[in-house]
């Protein structure tokens, strides 16, 4: 597709509750967002046709942009003059619960984990991981597979040329369970085999008649090597062919676009990967939704994605309470709160998920819960974004002292350059300072880290756009999507409250910050300043304990945040002390209106 003739792009994202449409146009040689429209998603009864919601969202775009894009129920392509039609239409989708997969592998911490990484990276929710050594008895595995109704199964196991027995056993188990797909009984469940190539014939024998089997290259051909791309590509293809084709209205939607419809998180992941590659940086992206929280990261050029299927701010809000515990939520609340009240408030949000906090206290409670959802999702991400386990490592003397095991997390907060937040709780926080503070508390960045949010959650559309027109995706992402919040400086270490922690020199200013204090220094969007950061001897900002760091920091809507609360970060157990500190930090960062 030549980029020359593409002047108007329409992109939609069919989410589980809302379908969002954006219109991008090339003006003065540059692609920019023109308008955004939205409408409720129409996958469920009584509509059961996703295209109805898409058309409604497009109609809102037509009204807002004062253009004609639809001719009846057809998108006009290519563009005719300035006011009619678009040159390209693309879409992503997570409607109908997204892509739900089950993965199976021989060894839980090796092939099964690699299979889970492949599925997550492709944008799936992993409902269950089954492994030969997962401790379940065979009949329990069969029961489990029968009960789940996944959209797809990814089966792997064994290195190429290794033993075939265990992976064939898994195929027999899947065959015996005879699993049925989620959308109806009119077709066979897609199963992807990405294991030992020597077992391919036996796998066919077991599964070819009962399932829609496809075979791709082994995702773990050697113990020391992961090859996830062929499996991920097959997942995307099958998502289109099977899952989407059976979801209500998708056949029609697929005919409207020449570019394959991508699962929403798969598209966001692509965009995060592109940022990391283009800027040569380590990035974390997070999307905190109503039902799920997705985390994406690129460290040492390795991309990882996890989805915490039951951590969210509306449908899943009660599960945040279950997993975090009341105490962990209450610790972020800057006033005394009754436990019974908090529990009832959370359940009331769960049963009426579309309500919004109307009082400041209500907002503060929801933001306390968001911090815990982010923290828990990040814990899960760190445990999944790991190096390969069970392989031999060459160790130097210094490695031997540090005793790092195989399978250590790739997530390294000190070397993290950028965190991008999105999803309602972050994108729609009344003050951007609140979004910045939630990201800091949820992820606890170390050293020097830039912070940003997706202005109106258009990363999914830009992700799929990047596959066909990278220039347009990059320009819109940079100018209209990404809102730069600023930079956070967080020394690692702990000290005594009130004692010096770090000094930041910026131009002719010298800002001294004591341990357990937070300071906000104005630094506008687009400003890039050199700073000299001098931590005291127990603290490290990236150059070593007590060592000075000279670096460039970016400004943003919030500014430069100095977080001298220490790492690891802990809040005092004493309630009045805790409330006093939270209030002090909130005031320092102008988080809430002054009347608080």
């Amino acid at each position: 597709m030549g980029n020359k003739e593409i002047n108007a792009i329409l992109a939609t994202d069919c989410g589980s509750t809302t379908t969002k449409a954006i219109l991008i146009e090339k003006k003065n040689g540059e692609y920019r967002l023109v308008v955004r429209g939205e409408a409720p998603t129409t996958v469920e009864a009584p509509f059961e046709d996703v295209t109805k919601g898409v058309l409604n969202a497009i109609r809102e775009v037509e009204e807002l942009a004062d253009k004609e894009i639809l001719a009846g129920e057809k998108i006009i392509t290519p563009r005719v003059g300035e006011r009619k039609g678009v040159d390209l239409y693309i879409s992503t989708s997570s409607a109908g619960g997204g892509l739900q997969m089950m993965v199976a592998g021989v060894v839980k911490t090796m092939t099964a984990e690699s299979a889970a990484r492949a599925a997550l990276g492709a944008g799936a929710i992993v409902m269950e991981t089954i492994a030969s050594n997962d401790g379940r008895l065979t009949y329990e595995k069969i029961e489990l597979i029968r009960k789940l109704r996944p959209d797809m199964i990814l089966l792997s196991g064994g290195i190429d040329g290794g033993t075939v027995k265990h992976v064939v056993e898994l195929a027999e188990i899947i065959g015996a369970a005879d699993p049925k797909p989620r959308f109806g009984t009119g077709y066979n469940l897609p199963v992807i085999y990405a294991g030992n190539k020597d077992a391919q014939d036996s796998i066919k024998e077991n599964l070819e008649k009962k399932t829609d089997l496809s075979i791709v290259d082994n995702l773990r051909p050697l113990l020391e090597m992961e090859n996830l791309e062929p499996a991920r590509r097959e997942i995307h293809d099958l998502f289109m062919e099977h899952v989407m084709a059976h979801a209500p209205g998708y056949k029609k939607l697929m005919n409207w676009t020449k570019v394959p419809i991508m699962p929403t998180p798969g598209a966001v992941g692509l965009l995060i990967k592109t940022i990391a590659e283009n800027e040569k940086i380590q990035v974390i992206g997070v999307d905190i939704g109503g039902a799920t929280t997705d985390i994406f990261s690129v460290f040492q050029k390795i991309f990882n994605r996890t989805v915490s299927a039951n951590l969210g701010m509306s449908y899943s809000i009660s599960n945040v309470l279950v997993e975090a515990g009341v105490e962990n939520i209450m610790r972020w609340v800057p006033f005394k709160v009754d436990r019974k009240y908090l529990r009832n408030m959370i359940k009331n949000k769960m049963i009426r998920p579309t309500t919004i906090p109307q009082t400041l206290k209500g907002l503060q409670l929801e933001q306390a819960i968001a911090r815990e959802a982010l923290r828990l999702a990040f814990v899960q991400h760190k445990s999944m974004a790991v190096g390969l386990k069970g392989i031999q490592q060459e160790r130097t003397i210094s490695d031997a002292f540090s005793q790092s095991a195989t399978g250590a997390s790739l997530v390294d907060m000190m070397h993290l350059d950028l965190v991008v937040g999105s999803g309602g709780a972050l994108s729609h926080a009344p003050r951007r300072n609140q979004a910045a503070f939630m990201v800091i508390d949820g992820f606890l960045p170390e050293g020097v880290t830039r912070l940003a949010v997706d202005s109106i959650f258009m990363m999914p559309q830009l992700g799929v756009l990047s596959t066909v027109n990278e220039k347009a995706a990059t320009e819109v992402f940079d100018k209209d999507c990404l809102i730069r919040l600023g930079t956070c400086i967080a020394p690692v270490g702990n000290g005594k409250e009130g004692r010096p922690c770090v000094t930041v020199s910026l131009e002719d200013k010298k800002i001294e910050v004591n341990y357990r204090d937070m300071v906000l220094i104005p630094l506008s969007v687009g400003e890039k300043k050199e700073v000299i950061i001098t931590p005291t001897k127990s603290f490290d900002v990236g150059a070593g304990k007590g060592k000075q760091l000279k670096t460039l920091v970016d400004g943003g809507i919030v500014g430069l945040i100095i977080d001298a609360r220490g790492r690891p970060f802990e809040l005092p157990e004493d309630n009045s002390k805790r409330i006093e500190l939270l209030t002090r930090w909130n005031n320092a960062l102008a988080i809430y209106p002054e009347k608080m």
Partner: protein, 372 residues
């Protein structure tokens, strides 16, 4: 969004209620269009494939997987009785034979030369579905199920636990703000659906389960009590499969909350009538709410279901978030422009005239329409 509002729960005195009764997999429908059925009549039946029992034959015989066929006396597709011989070794001079017997009744489904494993399958399990409500069969979904229709009082709750149950309506609260206590639950309430007021606690629920009460309908419950009763916290609102002895339907929300006057009156008016109740709730995708259906045989429907058009001035609404949670009123104003609320968020709001005559402004997202 042009139509940002929350459609309300259905509370109707006398309307047509249709219930689809569908088998989990295809099977046989036992009734035909026009048949009158009662709630406990079986309307469709099917067989689910039996459980699978793997048997590691190579391991038990101590032979390589590729050799197991030599020892099998049964082959794929053969039916098996429990204790019937599946495989045996020849032994030494007829002695020291190893005999492998089938641990279950069923069929031999699969033999693997690679893993040395046999897959045995138990006989199919019978699944039956009943009509759930008294009514008439108005549609047969071929091989899958039926649609039952009746004229009924129909009340949706906001949250529930426990599955389908049937019973006779029994009013135990004298007003919508009455708290249901342990001493109000009596032995003679066995099999009844009890209509309460504003609140029920875990001890009262335990008492109801002990006496075999079919269902309880009440305004609110504390989350902590729900946890005490269930023994665990509900993380995601997908309920209905709890095995707790009593079905609970909450009409308003969590905390002590007076049952809406109209809901209370409608339910109490049907005291002594046979009803069906279901606590199953699923908030995400599809929005399944708990319900009470009280069929009114012989009556004609008075209310014709109308599609919600969205909020309009004069429409009755209920506030569904603090402050003013639970308050009822009428829409008095619908300003189109965004307005800043206390949190500093800019949102679409609406003016409401509360029942006491006072006027307040609220985010549109925080009210629900009362559907009559």
């Amino acid at each position: 969004m042009a139509h940002a509002y929350t459609p309300g729960l259905k509370v109707t005195a006398n309307s047509i209620v249709k219930k689809e009764r569908r088998l989990p997999i295809k099977g046989k429908v036992l009734v035909k269009v026009g048949d009158e059925v009662t709630a406990s009549n079986i309307v469709a039946t099917t067989s689910l494939p039996g459980n699978v029992e793997p048997l590691n034959l190579a391991g038990k015989l101590g032979v390589p997987p590729s050799d197991i066929r030599e020892y099998l006396v049964k082959t794929e597709g053969d039916s098996l009785e429990e204790g019937e011989i599946i495989a045996k070794t020849r032994g030494l001079f007829g002695l020291f034979k190893t005999v492998i017997k089938s641990p279950i009744k069923g069929t031999l489904e699969n033999i693997s030369d690679i893993t040395g494993q046999l897959i045995l399958r138990a006989p199919p399990k019978k699944v039956e579905i009943d009509a759930y409500i008294d009514g008439k069969v108005v549609e047969v979904i071929e091989n899958e199920g039926v649609v039952i229709e009746t004229v009924a009082t129909f009340v949706q709750g906001i949250f529930g636990i426990g599955g389908e149950a049937k019973g006779v309506i029994k009013k135990i609260a004298s007003s919508p703000d009455d708290v249901i206590s342990t001493d109000m639950i009596k032995k003679e309430h066995e099999g009844k659906i009890l209509i309460g007021g504003s609140f029920v606690d875990s001890n009262t629920l335990k008492q109801a389960a002990k006496y075999g009460v079919s269902g309880i309908v009440v305004g609110g419950i504390d989350d902590q009590d729900l946890r005490n009763f269930l023994g665990y916290d509900i993380g995601v609102a997908i309920t209905g499969s709890e095995d707790i002895g009593v079905t609970l339907v909450i009409t308003e929300g969590f905390g002590k909350m007076n049952m809406a006057e109209r809901t209370f009156e409608l339910l109490c008016a049907q005291d002594g009538k046979k009803a069906s109740i279901n606590g199953a709730t699923q908030i995400r995708a599809g929005v399944l709410r708990p319900e009470i259906v009280i069929p009114l045989p012989g009556e004609k429907p008075e209310e014709i279901e109308q599609e919600s058009k969205g909020l309009e001035i004069g429409y009755p609404i209920r506030v569904i978030r603090e402050p003013h949670f639970g308050a009822m009123g009428k829409v008095s104003e619908l300003p189109p422009e965004l307005q800043q609320i206390e949190t500093e968020a800019k949102v679409r709001i609406l003016g409401v005239e509360l029942e006491d005559g006072s006027k307040i402004a609220l985010p549109r997202a925080n009210v629900e329409m009362i559907e009559e």
